[in-house]
């Protein structure tokens, strides 16, 4: 049974590509056959996050225009045997890939892979509509900010109306625990209240993500990082394991400890 999942957000810059790369790697680390599809035509990014940017020969639009076979456009990961990426074109625009094209590509890919994960472009225009066309499930990524949560809500409505994808799962990215603790950032409960989506996981704001991206190595491969562990938990939840949310509150700072010591915590 294969699954086709689109990772989307509405607002740009919330970490769709990072989430796609890490979930894909996480699943491949457990031995699943995974293909990641970059659907952000014209603003290709998944290749650099995965460190595959120098190995692209053909892309999604070449497959659509029948300049090559699908198999020829797939790039194999060097770390994980069963992880592949289908890049998109950097020189064309989002109209180069239609919803029908994506449905065809996804239908072909799912015959060979356990997971097809699509990195959607920001926005809700044609690029988004193509990206979601071949998917049956969705992950909505947001950050704990008003604009991003608002756009996430809009995307949830569009997923239902345009793609008949119901009950997408939510990933909250870049949560800053100390800001939450002092009441300056929305909590997971707040976002659940507002959006009413099942929470697939939370990624704490972590410099290691930037370092990992700099190197083209998804942070999920970094055993020591808290964000890497958060991604591993997300992957296990995707597989149906009831993994409790990480207790981020333990990583409290000096002031909180002091407050507790003097009886104000």
């Amino acid at each position: 049974m294969s699954e086709v999942i689109v990772v989307t957000s509405g607002k740009g810059g919330v970490g769709k590509t990072t989430v796609t790369a890490n979930i894909g790697c996480g699943l491949a680390m457990l031995g699943y056959k995974v293909v990641l599809v970059d659907a952000d035509t014209g603003l290709r990014n998944l290749d650099v996050v995965l460190g595959m940017e120098n190995r692209i020969v053909f892309d999604l639009t070449d497959v659509i225009e029948e300049k090559c076979r699908l198999r020829q456009a797939l790039i194999k990961d060097r770390r994980f045997e069963e992880l592949f990426m289908l890049p998109t074109a950097q020189t064309k625009d989002k109209s180069a890939v239609t919803p029908k094209d994506m449905q065809n590509i996804c239908a072909q890919l799912r015959e060979h892979f356990d997971y097809v994960i699509i990195d959607s472009p920001a926005g809700i225009e044609q690029g988004f509509q193509s990206a979601v066309a071949g998917a049956e499930k969705a992950i909505v990524v947001t950050v704990p900010e008003v604009a991003a949560v608002r756009d996430a809500d809009r995307v949830v409505g569009l997923l239902e109306a345009k793609a008949e994808i119901h009950d997408p799962k939510l990933i909250v990215n870049r949560l800053r625990v100390q800001m939450v603790q002092r009441g300056d950032m929305m909590t997971l409960e707040d976002m659940h209240d507002i959006l009413g989506l099942e929470l697939l996981g939370v990624i704490p704001d972590d410099e290691r993500v930037v370092v990992a991206t700099n190197r083209g190595e998804p942070v999920v491969t970094d055993e020591d990082s808290i964000s890497g562990r958060a991604f591993k938990d997300i992957v296990r939840r995707m597989l149906g394991e009831p993994v409790p949310l990480m207790n981020l509150e333990n990583r409290e700072g000096f002031l909180n400890r002091l407050r507790k010591i003097i009886g104000l915590g």
């Binding site: 900010e145 008003v146 608002r150 409505g157 002092r182 009441g183 929305m186 909590t187 507002i194 915590g265």
Partner: protein, 92 residues
């Protein structure tokens, strides 16, 4: 300044900005989601007619249901001409 710092240290600062964020989001989403399709509004009208008809006879043709918005709220406004009230005795 010093007092501010002490208040922070002791955890007695004023409630953080997240409540502001949450309240603003709640409102903006009411507006966003109120962009309902005519079909949905028609379904709502049908249900309303059904319920209200249990209590009074109404003029369905004169029925008007819409969502009205102003800065900080969205209201469902319905104008429903009543032709005749049913006898209270007839209601269970």
């Amino acid at each position: 300044m010093v007092l501010d710092f002490l208040a922070r240290l002791l955890g007695r600062e004023s409630p953080g900005s997240k409540n502001v964020a949450k309240e603003r989001l709640r409102l903006v989403l009411v507006h966003d989601r109120a962009d309902v399709s005519p079909q949905l509004l028609q379904l709502l009208k049908n249900d309303m007619v059904e319920v209200i008809s249990k209590y009074m006879e109404i003029d369905e043709k004169g029925l008007d249901v819409s969502l009205e918005r102003d800065d900080n709220r969205v209201a469902l406004v319905a104008s429903i001409p009543v032709k005749r009230m049913k006898r209270v005795a007839n209601l269970a």
